[in-house]
Subunit: 263 residues, 2 copies
């Protein structure tokens, strides 16, 4: 990595920040693609987020910003323009400065999951999928899985938030309110922070996982969460947060590579 | 370099920024010393400087900030405490967050030059030195050279600024107002941006350099400035901006290594 005064800067903004994989992963993909660019972690608490974003967007060598927990909803108000899915979801996880100086926001968490599923040989078309978590990442995953043809259920400990998401997505495809019982699902996705700390309960009742259900987890640290560990013990295939956040999807966004159509 | 979410962040803030060497140099020294830390360039125009600094100082994984042209004077107001020399000079080029959360500012440009001089075998004690430029870097160099025992002259196209600096330093040692005529000086230091662009005039009349006068230049890009090239053609030893900004002095500050006493 040839860091210099000319290197173009991308930030990943969240709180906490130590667990994020993009500084290594996205920076590696930039290098693989010949871009003199880097992704730098910034730990910004919610109370400082707005002032930080206003200042960061004016730094002349910052080209892009990755947004992570807990800022994906708040970041929307810092975008001048939004992708269609970001508008539907009311959340962004990536922002870039366009040629005209305006900041464009998109939400690619869902695309990243679907790409990781395809990479592991799983096609969501017509499969029953349970998404745990109706926040920024969960909403994006739900939308992307619906677009990929899955029959979707969403659960969240906050049932109001769950029902709100189901209502918002209902016009777009097949989606239902679900519970933390994963029985009968071909795919279970944890899009909550549960599993980051050892004391966390499992996001679903792992004893009721369907045989061979694929389990994916957005948590990146530990790489194999207790949920993934339980799934693996039952013989299920797993997709880790590291696999989801490999950096390619983010690099596509920042380097303006048109989105690949799925196989 | 093992960039991750746990890497501690240091910024170098200036405008322009492409020419700075600290992202590579300081980051390399951090790695050599086993610190998981990095230095990132931030191009911040003067109109945005205050808002940027207020936000950056609140980012929890930013430990330090290097200040470069044109912000060295403005940065003083963003420090909670100052070193004695920063207070005298009214300028800082390094800031770090202390254990109590307050930001401490220092001005180590002068120390960096004196260290580079010693490294090249030149002891300023009792030598006649001409410092070109009475701004942030020039002031720091003047003070450090006086402390190292040099007999000092300062020049600046802005003679008011030159005379103000001479007046401020006079109580501390031997210092006089000088011109861009370098004849008779054992050491000539360019502490202005002159030489960054090809159209710049030379900061001193190189045809009048004393034989064997050492010439040092704070400009880092080009590495060998027209002034240094002219000096080299006359057989003079030179010290480049890269040699001054090797990163060791900055790393000492951020890693809290006590300043070395000179040989």
């Amino acid at each position: 990595m040839g860091l210099s005064g000319e290197t173009r800067i991308h930030l990943i903004v969240g709180d906490p920040i130590a667990q994020v994989k993009s500084p290594a992963g996205l920076t590696r993909v930039f290098a693989e693609r010949g871009a003199d660019a880097i992704c730098i972690p910034m730990q910004v608490p919610p109370r400082d987020f707005d002032a930080f974003m206003s200042a960061a967007k004016r730094v002349l060598n910052i080209d892009g910003i990755v947004i992570t927990v807990p800022h994906k909803l708040a970041a929307v108000r810092h975008c001048d323009t939004l992708s269609e899915r970001a508008r539907i979801l009311g959340a962004v996880n990536v922002m870039r400065r366009e040629g005209d100086g305006r900041w464009f926001g998109d939400m690619v968490d869902g695309v990243a999951l679907v790409a990781a599923l395809h990479a592991s040989g799983f096609d969501p078309m017509d499969r029953r999928a349970l998404v745990v978590g109706a926040g920024g990442a969960g909403s994006a995953v739900a939308l992307a899985l619906m677009e990929a043809g899955a029959r979707l259920s969403v659960c969240d400990v906050d049932t109001g938030r769950r029902d709100e998401l189901v209502k918002r997505l209902a016009p777009l495809g097949q989606v239902a309110a679900g519970s933390s019982d994963p029985s009968g699902f071909d795919l279970v996705v944890n899009a909550t922070p549960m599993g980051m700390t050892p004391a966390d309960p499992l996001p679903v009742d792992a004893t009721r996982l369907a045989s061979k259900a694929l389990v994916a987890d957005f948590v990146t640290k530990p790489a194999v969460t207790p949920l993934l560990e339980a799934a693996r013990r039952r013989g299920s295939p797993i997709v880790t947060g590291e696999a989801i956040f490999r950096g390619d999807i983010l690099a596509d966004f920042f380097l303006r590579v048109p989105e690949r159509s799925e196989p």
